[in-house]
Subunit: 214 residues, 2 copies
């Protein structure tokens, strides 16, 4: 019952936990999201049951791992979003921050977007919805609150802000994913194009004559 002792134990456990997470990180960075518990345990220099004692199951480990990276990325996104500049500049800088991150560490990115997904047991209920990567959801909600705080959207602003938050994040995600695969242009061009889209250039563009029909 001595609290000192408990604290000692807990600190030790926490340190272990961090070591394990770093080992897992290395393996995921090397092997991608398919990294097996065996491989992670081996990298950490221990055996599987220890991993399971610390994280419960694979999902637990992956969640813990994802939280670290997600928190880090969200921090830099918040910084870009909070910079003292006009709206367009802030949007572009946020987009660029995100794209730079996924460009710099695509393995981590892939892991965050497709966490585990495997697991042949349980999941019978199937949980439709909420199957999207937690990172996307968190970014969407985060952006929604920022939008709702900063922008004057009239009635129904809360709902609107959330739709926009998730929508914009999804736009950024899909475009980034495609861009990362094909590299059809520079990061700066991509940022500009996306910002243009958000700035209504789609609606403002003129029709091309000679199209089919009307």
């Amino acid at each position: 019952m001595d609290t000192t002792q408990r604290t000692d134990q807990q600190r030790s456990a926490d340190r272990r936990r961090r070591e394990l997470l770093e080992a897992a990180d290395r393996v995921v960075l090397r092997d991608g999201p398919q990294a097996s518990m065996n491989a992670i345990a081996a990298e950490a220099g221990i055996t599987k049951p220890i991993l399971y004692r610390h994280f419960g199951d694979k999902g637990g480990l992956y969640a813990a791992l994802a939280k670290r990276h997600t928190d880090a990325l969200l921090d830099s996104l918040r910084a870009a979003l909070d910079a003292p500049a006009d709206r367009r500049e802030r949007v572009e800088s946020t987009l660029d921050t995100y794209l730079a991150a996924i460009e710099a560490r695509p393995q981590v990115y892939r892991f965050l977007m497709h966490p585990a997904e495997g697991g042949q047991v349980g999941d019978q209920g199937f949980d439709v919805g909420k199957h999207s990567a937690p990172l996307l959801r968190r970014m969407g909600e985060e952006l929604a609150t920022v939008i709702e705080e900063r922008l004057d959207l009239g009635p129904g602003s809360q709902q609107l802000a959330r739709v926009w938050g998730h929508g914009i994040v999804g736009m950024m995600h899909a475009a980034g994913d495609w861009w990362l695969g094909e590299r059809p242009c520079s990061r700066a061009e991509l940022v500009r194009s996306l910002a243009d889209l958000l700035w209504g250039r789609l609606a403002a563009a003129g029709d091309k004559m000679g199209g089919p029909g009307f």
Copy 2:
């Protein structure tokens, strides 16, 4: 060498293939993307090796299965996109078509968005990029061509159209996914909000006074 015979065989094989795909469809609809080859074979009333003879591996089966649904969905999207109406109406109708589809059959939707992903062998190369669901990519490209065909975007229009295609599809996808999970509003409201976003209401909105800092 008789062509008739060959045709007979091929027709028989095709029919079998369709039967297998329909069985697979039922299982996926019931068990989600985790559906095992064993379960699919059982549902079809046969055993695993036959599945493998027809589709090569799990990826092959899933690809064939996904292609059917993807083609169907893309057809209805094209119809909505090609309807004789003004741009805003067409955009809204396309969004609504997509959302109605994922709302009607969420299991299929989930399967299309997270195909397999498992597989403990191979994949060492890791294929960064192109890991996004093929459906998203195809929708993005499709939309890109429509945009490029219809809109007059000035220089660099091709690049711009592709970025927008993938971006808009991603927006639709993420918002739809979130909406499907939380159901925070009606489909019509969601469609309106997204169209508003595309129509530049984000850029047009006024700042909220009393915000932090500037």
